[in-house]
């Protein structure tokens, strides 16, 4: 699990103004070890870090948000499940070909009530990332997700999907086994779900790979997550023919929670702790839990038919064009 790591090691480029203060604290700690009481001084410095951080985070650029969304310590699906869901039982397999470790799911209870949770699983070390294919699912991942959504549907339980993927995996096997078909079918079948369905973009919402489990009645986004049709790097290299122009592409493509709320593509932004979710995973989990619970409760008042209609309305209106 992603432990809070306030240390100097995991600071992002734009957090570098904090470095001298962290160093100072370390020095004071070293002195403390030799018997002098520096508690007060350290406390003050820590406050300064917090203040400065708050200032820095007040005005993040889209590409800085991209960096936060991809932070290696950013909590990913199993982290949130561990923090939010009681009595979780992970359920594996698509009953068809395989089990995809990049997309996990299972049953458990949220605030004492049964839920089914699915989500992309990344990792916090290279080893974990490799084992999880960096959160890039294969068709069997999407098919597992669909199977589990149907488990929820038959049990009449709400579904929570947590989105955190650079995208669906672009590999030979993925094409052989029908990555397109798997995602497309999920989109169609998600439209037909008769149970409350809430999606949270927790990190990277990478294109079809994100949408493939992301057609909730409500789509929520963590404050420093992103959701886009193509990565800023991909956009820059294809449209600007220069991958280094990713910051520009990140801005132009409108991929932050704030942008997407304005476009009505998402329904709500979930606040993150100062410094981002990885700075205080359990606070982040708490925020998600509160928000998701609220939306599930609202949706639970709708009949199966209304839930489908609600979802249809939501996605039917997507699109901006001129008609005259």
């Amino acid at each position: 699990m992603a432990e809070a790591k306030n240390g100097i090691k995991n600071l992002l480029e734009f957090e570098k103004p904090l470095v001298p203060i962290f160093k100072k604290i370390e020095e004071l700690k070293a002195v403390s070890a030799h018997g002098m009481d520096m508690t007060e001084e350290i406390k003050m410095l820590q406050k300064r870090i917090e203040t400065l951080r708050r200032e820095i985070f007040q005005n993040l650029s889209p590409i800085q948000i991209v960096q936060l969304a991809r932070h290696i310590l950013r909590p990913t699906t199993l982290d949130y499940i561990n923090m939010m869901v009681e009595d979780f039982v992970e359920l594996r397999g698509d009953r068809n070909y395989g089990d995809d470790p990049a997309l996990v799911g299972g049953v458990g209870r949220l605030n004492g009530k049964p839920v089914l949770v699915i989500g992309h699983q990344k990792g916090h070390t290279t080893k974990e990332l490799l084992a999880r294919n960096f959160g890039m699912a294969n068709p069997e991942g999407y098919r597992k997700a669909l199977r589990l959504m149907r488990v929820a549907q038959r049990a009449n339980r709400p579904i929570i999907s947590l989105v955190d993927t650079p995208g669906a995996y672009p590999g030979i096997g993925a094409e052989e086994r029908g990555q397109s078909e798997a995602i497309a079918k999920n989109l169609r079948e998600m439209a037909a779900l008769t149970v409350p369905f809430v999606t949270v973009i927790t990190g990277e919402g990478g294109s079809g790979g994100a949408l493939g489990i992301g057609m909730g009645n409500r789509v929520l986004m963590l404050q420093y997550s992103i959701y886009s049709v193509i990565s800023p790097e991909g956009c820059a290299s294809i449209l600007f023919r220069d991958a280094t122009r990713a910051p520009e592409a990140a801005t132009a493509s409108k991929i932050t929670a704030k942008d997407l709320l304005e476009f009505d593509v998402i329904d709500e932004i979930i606040k993150e702790p100062v410094g981002g979710a990885h700075n205080d995973p359990s606070a982040s989990a708490q925020n998600i839990q509160v928000s998701v619970t609220k939306h599930i409760e609202e949706l639970s008042k709708l009949s199966p038919r209304e839930l489908i209609a609600d979802r249809y309305r939501k996605y039917r209106k997507m699109g901006i064009f001129i008609e005259s």
Partner: protein
């Protein structure tokens, strides 16, 4: 928002039409009577190629068809009536790469003599009324933005309203990046509409043509009750270059072509262009009461 009014557009279009009509029925090789086959390099007389439905008589390579040609191929003469022709794209993000999106739209309109990357309408196939959507690669690579998504959605709704089978001919490079997340949302919108169509009990038939990739494939192109493909068409989720970059190895010959998809269970039947209408007719008759 738009810098060109619909009236203005039609005036321009009319004028352009006279100039391009002669060319539009032909391949996009200006002022040339001969063309080299892209696949086998045989030199072909364009008139012959066109008489052969733009299929190379030497190697069966299927050249791209325009949406107009496709409609002519599939629909009984004079039966096609376009619907929702006036929906146009707009640059709601203020997006600019090598040129502003708005300019790109307008240029594409003039160059392709099309309003967008899909034409939808009602027509008859061997006297069977159908709702039809035909994508056109010549309009911004058949990319799917809000308009393509909306028109596909509406043709599905039209099918439901009039109890018609819905047929979509795909040809698309994927999502239109200039519309950002909204192009992604078209995958959700079209798929949701097709779910409704399905519950309505109406057939949805997809004809996959070269190329069909990205968000188009991962939504309405892969949701057919029946998937027909033309031979040799590139059909996939990720583009071959993206895959090569990811896995750092060469792709096998025939990868992501129709025949590959058929052998991997994604395509029902591969049909030569000359047999396309008759096969489609047989399938439609299976559904027709």
């Amino acid at each position: 928002m738009a810098k060109i009014s619909i009236h203005e557009w039609f005036t321009r279009k009319k004028k352009a039409k006279a100039e391009t009509e002669a060319v539009s029925a032909r391949l996009d090789i200006p002022g040339n009577l001969w063309i080299k086959c892209y696949k086998c390099s045989a030199t072909l007389f364009i008139k012959d190629l066109e008489a052969n439905l733009k299929v190379c008589p030497k190697c069966n390579y299927h050249f791209k068809l325009s949406s107009a040609e496709r409609i002519k191929l599939l629909c009984d003469e004079g039966t096609f009536k376009e619907l929702n022709a006036e929906i146009r794209s707009t640059d709601f993000l203020g997006f600019s790469d090598s040129q502003p999106y708005q300019k790109r739209i307008e240029d594409s309109m003039l160059k392709s003599n099309l309003m967008e990357a899909v034409i939808t309408g009602e027509g008859q196939v061997s006297s069977i009324p159908v709702a039809l959507g035909v994508m056109d690669f010549s309009f911004m690579g058949g990319s799917m933005g809000s308009v393509v998504g909306e028109k596909i959605t509406r043709i599905a709704e039209h099918g439901m309203e009039h109890k018609l089978p819905v047929i979509v001919v795909t040809a698309s490079g994927g999502a239109r990046m200039q519309e950002g997340i909204m192009s992604l949302m078209q995958m959700a919108k079209t798929s949701a509409a097709l779910q409704r169509l399905r519950e309505f009990g109406l057939p949805y038939i997809v004809i996959l043509t070269d190329p069909t990739t990205g968000g188009t494939t991962a939504s309405f192109a892969m949701l057919g009750d029946i998937h027909i493909a033309e031979p040799g068409a590139l059909i996939g989720f990720a583009g071959p270059r993206v895959i090569e970059q990811t896995i750092r190895q060469k792709l096998p010959v025939g990868f992501q072509r129709s025949e590959f998809l058929e052998s991997h269970g994604m395509v029902d039947v591969i049909v030569n262009r000359k047999d396309l209408k008759s096969t489609l007719t047989k399938i439609l008759r299976f559904y027709k009461d």
